[in-house]
């Protein structure tokens, strides 16, 4: 009831705005849904982008961040589709995990076409690492050993089985013609815990994001044997070889971005894609990116829509091959 009411009020205002100013969309009380509790990655995406939008005066009122936790983002997705479908002032934080779960049907009855994908604000690239004492030095060596005796190489990662850290290893294994069902992946709660298990010698390899591994590389405790980026990363990260240059064509970007309600007007959609692009290009955001270890990845509008759909296609195919989904 309330949604309809506020929706119609919003439309009314939008109509005034239309007749008043030019045809462009004017943001009102903007809102960003973080589909998780405060303190997580999605929450940070909302808060930092919201703050930058306001600081660089793309929006005139501070953006309100609303936490809608549950179902790994599924609750927020369902709510946007069913109740907020025409809200022009709403964006929702998303990441690779959102697309992965959509691909695996983890959001019941949901598909990526039910919402409009706005753009990314950066990415954290995947890495595969081993401990400093490991005889393994390159990705092909690791894959050879997995191929020879998969049981002897437990790989730890911070995501659940079927999650992104797991899939990255499987994609690499697949490229090396390894039976992916044999790969021994041990799921931990978060990348940090997984790295500790590598340090303690309880597992042999680690699959995670570069931001999680960086500190331990600097201290000399672990070796990054491959970065899953299309080309070497900028700055001090360029010492790490990519998987691609070692002949294993895997790219695993944990991107961060936004989607918007499916029936958002085209004007509003154009406004938001532009706004996110403006944020991405701003100096303020460059600083946030260096601070958070975010790597460049700028996609917006149609381009992003295609990217997400390719990501979903890839995960779907892989998940079917390994029997995760039917």
């Amino acid at each position: 009831m309330r949604k309809i009411l506020s929706g119609s009020v919003a439309t009314l205002f939008a109509a005034f705005a239309l007749t008043g100013s030019a045809l462009a969309f004017e943001p009102g009380n903007t809102e960003c849904i973080a589909p998780a509790n405060p303190g997580g990655g999605w929450d940070f995406t909302c808060r930092q982008v919201g703050k930058t939008l306001y600081d660089i005066k793309v929006i005139s009122n501070p953006m309100q961040v609303v936490n809608k936790a549950g179902g790994g983002g599924g609750v927020a997705f369902a709510e946007v589709v069913s109740k907020r479908n025409e809200d022009n002032n709403l964006i929702v934080a998303a990441s690779s995990a959102t697309a992965t779960r959509l691909a695996q049907g983890a959001y019941p009855g949901a598909s990526m076409d039910q919402v409009r994908w706005i753009g990314t604000v950066g990415a954290d690239y995947g890495v595969i690492a081993v401990s400093k004492d490991s005889p393994i030095n390159t990705l092909p060596e690791l894959l050879d050993q997995i191929k020879a005796d998969p049981a002897s190489v437990p790989v730890a990662g911070g995501s659940a089985v079927g999650g992104w850290d797991h899939l990255k290893v499987l994609i690499a294994a697949q490229k090396a013609d390894i039976d992916v069902k044999k790969v021994k992946y041990v799921a931990f709660d978060g990348g940090g815990e997984a790295v500790t298990q590598l340090l303690g010698g309880h597992v042999k390899a680690f699959s995670g994001d570069i931001s999680e591994a960086k500190g331990f590389v600097d201290s000399g405790d672990i070796k990054i044997i491959a970065v899953l980026a299309p080309e070497r990363l900028p700055g001090e990260f360029d010492q790490f070889p990519t998987a691609r240059e070692q002949g294993v064509d895997v790219v695993g970007a944990n991107w961060r971005g936004f989607y918007a309600p499916g029936d958002m007007s085209d004007d509003a959609y154009d406004f938001w894609t532009g706004a996110i692009k403006t944020v991405y290009d701003s100096d303020e955001w460059k600083q946030v990116m260096t601070q958070n270890g975010l790597m460049p990845l700028s996609l917006s509008g149609e381009e992003f829509q295609t990217f997400v759909s390719e990501h979903i296609g890839q995960v779907e195919t892989l998940s079917k091959e390994i029997g995760l989904i039917k």
């Binding site: 790994g72 089985v161 405790d221």
Partner: protein, 511 residues
Amino acid sequence: MEALSSLADGFTVALTLQNLFLALLGCFLGTIIGALPGLGPSNGVAILIPLAFTLGLPATPALILLTSVYYGAMYGGRISSILLNIPGDEPALMTTLDGYPMAKKGQAGEALALSGIASFIGAFFATWGLVFLAPLLVSVALLFGPAEYFALFTLAFCTLGGVASRNQAKAAVAAALGIGISTIGVDAMAGVDRFTFGNVHLFSGIDFLIAIVGLFAISEVFLFLEHRGQGEASNANMKLGRVTAPLSMIKACLGAMSRSTVLGFLAGVLPGAGASLGSFISYSIEKRVSDGQKTFGKGDPRGVAAPEAGNNAAAGGALVPMLALGVPGSGTTAVLLAMLLALNITPGPLLFQQNPDVVWGLIAALFIGNIMLLAMNIPLVSLFVRVLLIPPRYLMPAVAMISFVGIYGISGSTFDLYLLVGFGVAGYILRKLDVPLVPVILGTLLGGEMEKSLRRAVQISDGDWSVLLGSPLAVGLWAFAILGFIAPLIVGRYLRPKIADSTAAEGADPD
């Protein structure tokens, strides 16, 4: 002594007017957040992060604010535990066991003052531990692989028999219910749904905060409704009593506090165990060691001092893996870690070398915050106990509504509110049937980790179950669990004092 001079540098960083003000603000907000049911240290820190952003604080002041909130919440949780039998958050759970009976005996003020001192001692020495033992403890934490964690969690559940001594079978049922709740949701180890019945709200499991708030706070409201009429009387005979702890009481609790500080700190250092395990183990082992007269659970001051020293020490201990490894040992440190990353500080092995000003400034701030909290909490006892003067007919609706807001404000999910009511009804019935609630919460908190540790261990060893006893540490933990807690139950009551003595000797050196 290098540590001491670094610490002195840290104090010069922390001792500015602005930082002192932030520490005071953090301690104050933290205490309130900790006392409110549903909002604990982790949510408290998380919801104040935007404040740090809005104020545009640089790294050190922002961290000072947030760690003060963290320590403040650890102090604050005890207030509602003692006064209302409602734990403000999960680490304060064990404080209800003896704190509320003390309040009922008219010793609310003493319990609050004593627990304030115990909190101070726990946090104070844990911070020293952080200064001197961090590198050493990191190597201890690394010894804990999945098999050792499984043994540790088993130990925690074995001690339950000692905590709820009245009816062991009911304690077992309660623990099974709690662990059962923890199995709801997507199973990370296999990527399949369990017990979700296709409901998307259950996919990521049930937040243990809902269980705590429902079982304790909402069921309390029902109890008051039932006893309306007589209910007013039960509150009126709560005398306020004195608002300081007598010296003799503090002296009697010194042993409990020191043992619990060590145990709590060690539990905090282990990532994946955390503050709630710290307070739990502290209480149950203290009970085993010194409950000769069977006064625990009936308002024994040591039963208040032990878990409070334990959980505050654990809060300090949890900072060790967070700072030195970048691995959060608890929900709160996970949030602090995210905050550090956002401030361009990468915790990890090099943090102490790369950002000494941040680390030592932070540690100095912990000392300052801790002293502030003690100074603030002791005089405020007389204010806190006045909560008992509010008639339940005004207090209880407020408690119920704050509980609802605490849950909804974090998750934004009305489904969680239905669950909360469900837990409230369940808590009411379980209380009536004399089924202890603590094991339910413990199961919800630790059950998931226990299962995952087991499965990880056996998965890494390729199905070889002997890995569970694969290291001296694991064997030691099992031996301690069986000799200290299982054997006495089987051997029977009349042998108990004897065995309790022998575990006392072991208790000094659990590793």
